[in-house]
Symmetry: C2
Subunit: 328 residues, 2 copies
């Protein structure tokens, strides 16, 4: 299989996922797995695995199975995170704990984690221990990231470093793992594996910061959810942390504090004023600069990859550019 278009890679993953028999009975356990995987999404993580593999070799069964395992793991984490975050909707549809109940979402999630391991096991013996070992490390890190994220809700102050460490664990390490697995399933050398992991981590940090940014500065018609949702929820994003730091000991400190403790109904006004405070401190530009820095580091790392057919890096490079310039 030789792919150049993102949609070709997506079709490969979707066909593979559709062909999986995750289980039948009891239906409460297995129907939610088909449901959440059926909600679609960009399949960004498995795309990364396939594109990285493709730098070295044409796609084979083990690359596609591991890519699918990464996607199943990601959806397991969504299932459980959505319970913890009390999220009613996911990709425009009710979340599993809303459509069924929290117990179903816990247990279906558990079995998805097991199925992710089973997909990761569909590799030759010489890669089995590496892949499962790295997967286990990364899976635990993703849990750590989610726990830090929940802890942050109750913290008064969070350093920039701690915030970046949280999004690294919660989001970036899985993107790094996804790219690394492309190299591992292609039997690339250790150095290449490490570089691709680095590419994914940097891109993941940029990707998550872009999420924070778009929530405030995205265009409503392209973004797909309410602009300013994070501000309304007092979510401790990079933008808010930056504004809190810069507002310290200025007249805007009290103003920001007032809106963070605001219990009234006028959400539009809250979003308007907090955004204005962000603007005063140039938070948008600071965030954009950091995003751009991470994506450039990712690109530099990818460029440094010394491979036989450098032109085969192109689909991945294009994807990184797309991620960096996304509007939703």
């Amino acid at each position: 299989m030789l792919h150049t278009l993102v949609s070709d890679y997506q079709a490969t993953i979707n066909a593979f996922l559709k062909g999986q028999n995750f289980g039948e009975q009891p239906t409460e356990l297995y129907e939610p797995i088909r449901y959440i995987l059926g909600l679609g999404g960009k399949r960004m993580r498995p795309l990364l695995t396939l594109m990285a593999h493709h730098i070295y070799k044409d796609l084979d069964h083990s690359a596609v199975a591991v890519a699918a395992g990464v996607e199943v793991f990601h959806n397991f984490s969504l299932l459980h995170d959505d319970i913890m975050d009390n999220a009613p909707m996911r990709r425009g549809q009710p979340t599993v704990h809303e459509k069924w109940d929290a117990n179903v979402a816990i247990l279906s999630g558990d079995v998805m984690l097991v199925r992710a391991y089973q997909l990761m096991m569909q590799v030759p013996d010489h890669n089995l221990r590496t892949i499962l070992g790295r997967f286990s490390e990364v899976a635990a890190q993703v849990c750590e990231g989610q726990q830090w994220d929940m802890n942050f809700e109750g913290y008064k102050e969070i350093s920039k470093e701690h915030y970046l460490e949280m999004i690294k664990l919660k989001t970036a390490v899985l993107l790094g793992f996804a790219l690394e697995m492309g190299a591992v399933t292609a039997n690339a050398n250790e150095a290449d594996r490490a570089i691709l992991n680095e590419v994914g981590i940097k891109a993941g940090l940029g990707f998550q910061l872009m999420d924070d940014l778009l929530d405030v500065y995205g265009e409503a018609d392209k973004f797909g959810k309410m602009v300013g949702g994070d501000i309304v929820a007092n979510k401790k994003t990079f933008l808010l942390l930056e504004a809190l730091t810069l507002a310290k000991d200025t007249p805007l400190e009290a103003e920001l504090d007032f809106w963070l403790n605001y219990k009234g109904e006028d959400k539009v006004e809250k979003v308007r004023i907090v955004t204005a405070i962000y603007n005063t401190f140039g938070v948008k530009e600071t965030t954009e600069a950091l995003i751009s820095q991470y994506f450039q580091e990712a690109m530099v790392a990818l460029s440094s990859l010394n491979v036989q057919h450098p032109e085969r890096k192109l689909p991945l490079m294009k994807l990184l550019v797309q991620l960096m310039s996304r509007e939703s």
Copy 2:
């Protein structure tokens, strides 16, 4: 290490678990793991692995690591089941979701499942795929059993076959797996692995039915929890299903139905009368006969195991006898 006493095996497991570094930060993620593993318990499942391994060989690292993995997996399932069952106490102490909250219990449980895989991976390459493959199958079955158990709460009728299938999935397959892993880590042949799996499944069925029985007919001072708790909660145990079947079209059908729908406060009276109905239909004797049948089948299977040192089966045989005659 040559063990003969149950307490020696328990000490081996407890020392190994205590030496594990499950993780440090964030503490909300890792402290609950140490907490639940620290609550103790009989360590029955890892005992089974060690005793089965011991039939063939002295204990080695891989046997102890896999045994510990079984125990960590079992405790993962307790963490998540306790949320679903809304259980306030476990081994006389608050459950994790009570002591922390449900989110912490979900996420710590998730990371315990990952840690169980990591423990299972501490085996030589030639056993890695077998162990992780079987573990994944069994882990999914345990989830299926828990989902059936929850479904049963809403069912009006449950056949005896369906009930036995549920307890097989929820409890017995893990005991079968635990014994099988003793054989696998000792590099025993396929036939022996299958026999030990069978021993565990039969013992597990007997063990779970014994649980149902002791809840009604256990002696309060030995049982450790309130006798009749299942009756008060209308839990669909083997005893209740048997009584419902036998009461059909008899004058006691309405009486049983009345107490199942009873919303009053007199729990003692409810337990007294439902127990009397059980007695009328000889439910105690039927259950005892089935338990005894399963344990005998387990013993016969274990006896059929053709090994070099049959006397090495003794600790396991003694444990099975203990499980069969337990009073709590």
